[in-house]
Symmetry: C2
Subunit: 340 residues, 2 copies
């Protein structure tokens, strides 16, 4: 029966008005302790829960956050969604998940959908929500006129938009530089995304060469455009480069699965890792532990980022002034695929 109870029923049983019940429910201070107890007792006794829709209508909020994510089956994005949901839940917010795929129109459509649901905020997981076109990100700016927009791993400067990210530029630069310093000049950079974060990583790779004053070979920057599950595709992609005569002593990648593909390539060609080929992944996912040898990878502090993102979000929602951009540093986790 508890489900069907309304605030009227409770008020009647407690012998008070619905306003008083509402005050008790919302922790208003203007209630006599005695009255509060009386009402609470009835509420507990009947297990009464206020109707969420009615409350939503009154408050214009159901304490719900929209989580936009291109593909939550992706190892990395799935973890992000998980951490964000957990932290939101701890703060008594619900999460509406919305997987958009990588199509731009779909992303915009999905954001609109969430807005029409009156979510309290939207968090966009992954830098692929940033569009590299003139006005391409207006859809974000517009959304931010209504509710705070949180970006994970993306950088976009607009009012009411908050960014939490990892310094992918520096992390990639550092990894590349370490290799260069160890005397390896021909490093293949393998990436699969031209998103904001993807560009930063690439720039980090390039900048390492600049900093070390070494010449860069454009052919050593290669983009794999297959799926994030297609490790075999990665392997044959590299094989093709190799067969075409491209040579390299190390491979730095933008994602772990690319690194795994690289390791497989080495095995197929009896190239010894790390002796003759060093390989660096990115994300420090479980994949680094599956391959042989275990793979060096960049930990970009996903959990820390997610915790911080939710902190910032809750702060914003409760009216505190929050920093618009928070940047974490990545960390190279050294395993057996490198000797740096």
């Amino acid at each position: 029966m508890s489900n069907q109870m309304t605030i009227y029923d409770i008020s009647k049983k407690a012998g008070v008005s619905i306003a008083t019940v509402s005050r008790v429910l919302n922790g208003s201070s203007n209630v006599k302790p005695k009255t509060r107890k009386k009402v609470m007792d009835i509420i507990d006794q009947y297990g009464y829960k206020p109707n969420a829709f009615a409350r939503g209508l009154g408050l214009n909020s159901m304490k719900t956050i929209g989580i936009l994510c291109a593909d939550s089956s992706d190892l990395y994005l799935a973890k992000a969604v998980y951490f964000i949901e957990r932290n939101l839940r701890e703060n008594e917010y619900n999460s509406v998940l919305c997987c958009t795929g990588y199509d731009v129109e779909n992303k915009k459509e999905s954001l609109k959908l969430l807005l029409s649901q009156h979510v309290d905020s939207v968090v966009m997981v992954g830098s692929n929500f940033i569009i590299n076109e003139d006005g391409g990100n207006d859809y974000i700016k517009e959304a931010a006129e209504t509710i705070p927009v949180m970006l994970l791993n993306a950088d976009y400067d607009a009012p009411n938009v908050y960014c939490t990210l990892c310094d992918d530029f520096k992390a990639t630069q550092d990894a590349t530089e370490s290799l260069l310093k160890s005397g390896i000049d021909d490093i293949l950079y393998l990436y699969n995304s031209k998103s904001y974060s993807g560009q930063k990583k690439l720039a980090g790779y390039q900048n390492a060469y600049m900093t070390m004053d070494k010449e860069i070979n454009k052919d050593l920057q290669q983009c794999f455009s297959g799926s994030h599950e297609d490790i075999e595709g990665v392997t044959s992609f590299i094989q093709k480069l190799w067969d075409d005569g491209l040579r390299f002593k190390a491979i730095v990648t933008s994602e772990d699965f690319l690194g795994v593909g690289a390791i497989k390539f080495a095995q197929n060609n009896n190239i010894s890792v790390p002796k003759d080929l060093q390989i660096v992944g990115y994300n420090d996912s479980i994949l680094t532990l599956c391959c042989e040898p275990a793979m060096t990878s960049v930990n970009n502090r996903l959990e820390d980022m997610c915790i911080q993102l939710v902190k910032t979000l809750i702060g914003t929602l409760t009216g505190s002034e929050m920093p618009q951009k928070i940047i974490f540093s990545g960390e190279l986790v050294k395993r057996d695929s490198t000797s740096i």
Copy 2:
């Protein structure tokens, strides 16, 4: 401005009553085409969207499904959540994600929470929501008195509870039997969960021995209780068994990460896979492609299950009579960690 528009505004501009606008909005047939057009034009012109909360209050539904999942950062569960969300979205349902962790009380609490939000249905992802105790599943039965409850990969018989699952028993039995038939008698069975599906797999392993009329060695059934990310833990777990004198010619596992740990174990001990040790994983995840050699694994048709689950759910919600249990068959995907 479109956000602030109400049905009253539209009705005024269109020169009709709100009832008519509502009818147009809900596709009622009793509207003169001319009137409908007039109203639609205004709606389009102002980009009016009815307020979701008010609608929820009126209809007692916001077209939202609760997705319960112990840990959506788990490779397998993440995929399930992804597929389910996509299919629900295609049917114009929203998904509220709720990661409960593995604590039973928490699960019950989370379910209650979703019920109090008046979700239209709840889908429980993974068989760990089934409690092996007397009355342990009453919380599910109770929920099902209010809304349909969908179970993925679990079997529980109660009114308004719908199960979609894979025949894990048979899949494990088949894999084990293949090995037995090839002349291997000592097969280590490595598992990490005593959930419903976990038990089925174990029973399948045992049944293979029965069927083949071979004696079973209890020591060859081992439960690893670490995290699903702790591949190194798995490796040392097996190492310990080995050091204690346990011997086996094959390892059948209940999850891919266990299989990967097994492969690592073999490498560490210079045991040749599959020649001297055959290894079978479960779930056919990306992990099977990361290890060396690539791992044979059971594909339990997760995507098909999810598609079917949502179909059943939508059917139920629209008043069709739906089957309470749908069972898919797993399929052994042979790779290089076995020679069967």
